[in-house]
Subunit: 599 residues, 2 copies
């Protein structure tokens, strides 16, 4: 734990004891793998994270990318770290062997990338965006596009971006104005202005492959008229060599509160007549393509939040063990030595909250990653279908829950440090600033709440939702019969029943008065998320208790910590969002009824 | 509202309709004053805040003070703004006429300083610390000290600091190591290292008066052995002219997440043999002196939090009115125009939360300020005593509640802005970073919770607590009989009863098992704070309803907004901390029982 990125006991517990990812070696795709190869990849990622990514995390925050002579100047450690990452092959961890990948399960590849995120989320972003863009081309591109653009991305020679947002259109993507005009040669000329394009320009890679949303001249209005294009910074010749500079101009850099090492740009396409673009997938169907990969992108945001929260927690824990301050309440003699602050109940409360949030959040992210593996590669079509449905259902929560509660963990990490935590001489304030982006990008909390309550819960007549309820109930039934877990099971059972009742009310109301039904969708998502994470905590407690009784690979104190943290989450955290059950049950109109002029 | 520091309707409502501060003109001390003179001071402060302090707020964040050639270099706008403030006389707003002050009630002087805080909390801090240090000398110094040090501070020629914290002793002040050795001439030689000294060195004023905690050679151990000293940067001659440089050395600057315009320093006293210091008050009684003024200092922190939240709210409100994005849920035609985001229920929820927090927080701070006026200057000794007791009781909440919930308001202001809110091109991210200091300095949440539950509630057999309950119950009785307020009164009544029950349980337990009774003191404070602010919201609703029925000075929409915001607070916010009532009632041991090795 010395590198303070992850508790390796916890990671192994989640992957092997809770989620049993060794079972994936029975999937034909992963048959060459074993726990050893999984661990080797994870150890490699942790080594790269600790030795190459973490050391310049602070420097890139203090010395952010600059716009000089039309170019983006970035500290040299970034290029060096990305070269190391590329050389490990980890950028293609989940890709096929035949394309040079490691063909690792998502649970392992996400773990690897998560460790890098925890060490330096800003430098990681260049690689993360590249992997995401590459995956999109792999899913929707032609063979020629895969070969020409995606393969150099897997190899880390080309980097990628996602160009969605425009100055007037963020959440409302259907309103983008960028245009794509078809040419006789089958290419398109793209023009328009994009904003908040992370990694939009730099000198870190030979080329940058922009994935750009734009509209064709005959596009229907709204989201159903969006098409997706590959727009490379440098055109790529048939032999893979670089051709001329495309008509993509860096209009300026955006300066952020955190995540400062990742350059955020404004890009102008077609200032000189039109950037050359290549259609990906069907015309007007670009958003569907983009959303196809959103499940993974949103998992990526959630995982990044968790890992920022996790490293903050480990820093706070070390500080709380080493920093002495004050005395026990019953000690009246000021001449006695001060005690480590971890001995104070309020500090312990803040550490338990962090532990509950970050370990619970990591369980959520890795559980979701196993669904990706199952939906893609399980033998049984029923397993695949169920996993795909659950993955769809959980996506808005996996994106939002960690970005809310692991951000809160980062705030608590500052609080544990006291005045020192507020200074830039300690790293926890940077984690907090970095993490504050996560509730915003890839869809705000508000958007995710609407997605969950307005779409996902009702999909296929509520089928995926029912599958999840079934899994939770099965844990509750098992735990109700175990003395040590009975209390926790009772608490969660009550809240699960409340959630079911609320869901029923709101789903019925959605048909007649969707505005009212969805007015508090965000609060609904908070309840749902806490019940879900509460379940994953109860599952962890169940597994930990078995290990305590039958002997486990890890120290007894580790397993006992899981039982305590489960207790903490169910007693201290679960009740908070559930306190608004009546607001949801009544489909409270307070926010709808407030006239805009009354603010 | 164009300057986005305050809603002037709200301010006037709170001061004159809710708190009726015109009644203070009947106090002999304020008999020369009238609503006109109050308003004139407030308007002056708002003008200075808007025109002189706000414009360089962002610049000082981006270009923080630097340590160059042993001196602190600060942007010139800071000195200019402080000169303007000094010239207005507002630095002595609450001081006696005979010392050159304006002799304004605390409710007015705090309002004035609050407006400056909302415009630029970092530049204000130089003045705020000076006022606080000056007040301490006025309360505990000799006449000669008042004349030699405090009067030039009121005039803004000298600035002040509070030197409490040392690298190893923050919350645990009894463990400071700084030493003071008495000299034959009645002065002392001070030596030691202090850290986190805001405004500890600069060239903004002719002199800096450090108020330093140190221990005499014969000091008893712990907090009962702390003495308080005046240690000027330059010695002051009998005629008020400056003498030689004292032995106070700037050891370095601390770089912070926010509040960057206020230089935070490490100071070494006595590197060259001992800094000349002058004892303030009795030996070994320095902490009592310091705490005497803590009520006002902690109100200052709370007020600063409120004003940062308030300006963030007004920025978010303007953005939400001007920014168009998306369409109503029922609108299926993407060719229709987009709507302002204030029309979306989730954005309205975030604005209502901000309104409830910042207007509720301002009501709390100004209510507390009226207690300061009453305790000092009311004719009736019973009124003075009751106000003093209430002020003591409320201090930990006034410090903590705003610094928690108005920080949350700042986070919501970012969220309303979406991606733009995360950039430094918009001001809301700075407000959030600036405000993150407030839960830490002047005593963390943990310290305040212990003060409330472990001391204040029980003081004088719970007398002050009972006075507060009486005031709340009287509002509840009145509102229960008003149709429009009955529902709110019922909600608050239930939670007040819960709070009373919890208080009884924990106060009884405190006698036998203080560690367990106080383990969740922070959560107790959350409940107490929400009941208190809930009461102030119900009071506001009561006053607004009367104005709607009988005609008020402000627009009808303003008063209706108060009713809506009260509803929001009682329905959406009050239940959250109360959800942990059972944790408190059971004196839950979860955090106590977690062994340190299980993390």
């Amino acid at each position: 734990m010395s590198q303070k990125i992850i508790n390796t006991d916890d990671l192994a517990f989640l992957l092997y004891e809770l989620l049993d990812i060794e079972r994936f070696t029975q999937f034909p795709r992963y048959e060459d793998h074993s726990r050893d190869t999984f661990d080797a990849a994870i150890e490699l990622a942790l080594k790269v994270a600790s030795e190459t990514f973490a050391p310049h995390n602070h420097a890139c925050d203090e010395d952010e990318p600059r716009f000089e002579n039309g170019k983006v100047v970035i500290r040299p450690e970034v290029a060096e770290a990305l070269k190391v990452l590329r050389d490990t092959g980890l950028m293609a961890a989940s890709q096929d062997y035949e394309r040079g990948g490691m063909q690792l399960p998502a649970a392992v590849s996400q773990t690897c990338i998560g460790l890098i995120k925890g060490a330096n989320v800003s430098t990681q972003a260049y690689a993360g965006l590249t992997i995401a863009a590459c995956n999109l081309i792999m899913a929707h591109g032609t063979d020629e596009q895969k070969q020409r653009y995606a393969e150099p991305m897997m190899a880390g020679r080309f980097f990628g971006t996602m160009c969605l947002t425009e100055p007037h259109a963020g959440s409302s993507l259907g309103d983008i104005k960028s245009r794509a005009v078809p040419q006789d040669d089958g290419t398109y000329r793209i023009s328009g202005n994009k904003i908040f394009i992370s990694a939009g320009d730099h000198e870190l890679s030979d080329n940058i492959i922009h994935l750009v949303l734009a509209k064709l001249p005959d596009a229907p209005p709204g989201a159903k008229g969006i098409s997706l294009f590959i727009v490379p910074k440098f055109l790529v010749n048939d032999d893979g060599s670089l051709g001329e500079r495309n008509d993509v101009t860096l209009a300026g850099l955006i300066h952020k509160m955190g995540y400062r090492g990742t350059t955020s740009t404004m890009l102008n396409f077609g200032e000189k007549g039109g950037a050359v673009g290549y259609l990906v997938g069907e015309p007007h169907n670009g958003l569907a393509g983009m959303f196809h990969m959103m499940n993974e992108a949103r998992l990526g945001v959630g995982l990044g939040s968790v890992m920022l929260g996790y490293t903050g927690y480990l820093h706070a824990l070390e500080y709380a063990r080493e920093r002495s301050q004050g005395r026990p309440l019953k000690e009246r003699d000021p001449a006695t030595p001060m005690i480590p602050i971890i001995e104070h109940a309020d500090v312990r409360r803040m550490l338990m909250a962090q532990k509950a949030f970050v370990e619970g959040g990591l369980a959520l992210c890795l559980y979701t990653a196993t669904l990706i593996d199952e939906k893609k590669h399980a033998d049984d079509p029923a397993v695949r279908e169920e996993a795909a449905g659950l993955n769809d259902l959980l996506t808005p929560i996996v994106k939002s829950w960690p970005s809310q509660f692991c951000l809160e963990a980062n705030s608590l990490a500052i609080q544990v440090h006291g005045g020192y935590g507020y200074t830039r001489e300690y790293p926890v304030e940077q984690f907090y600033r970095d993490n504050r982006l996560n509730p915003i990008h890839e869809g705000t909390h508000g958007i995710q709440g609407q997605d969950l309550l307005g779409r996902k819960v009702a999909m296929q007549g509520g089928k995926h939702y029912q599958v999840l309820l079934g899994r939770i109930r099965s844990t509750l039934d098992a735990c109700a019969a175990i003395a040590e877990l009975e209390d926790g099971a009772q608490r969660l059972t009550a809240d699960l029943e409340t959630l079911e009742e609320i869901t029923e009310v709101l789903q019925a109301l959605r048909k007649t008065d969707p505005e009212r039904a969805l007015a508090n969708a965000y609060l609904y998502m908070e309840c749902f998320g806490h019940v879900l994470v509460g379940w994953l905590w109860l599952r962890q407690a169940q597994v930990a208790l078995e290990a305590l009784q039958n002997g486990g690979e890890r120290p007894e104190s580790f397993y006992r910590g899981k039982l305590h943290a489960c207790d903490y989450f169910l007693r201290y955290e679960l009740p908070k969002p559930m306190a608004l059950a009546s607001v949801l049950r009544d489909a409270d109109r307070t926010t709808l009824d407030m006239p805009a002029e009354c603010f």
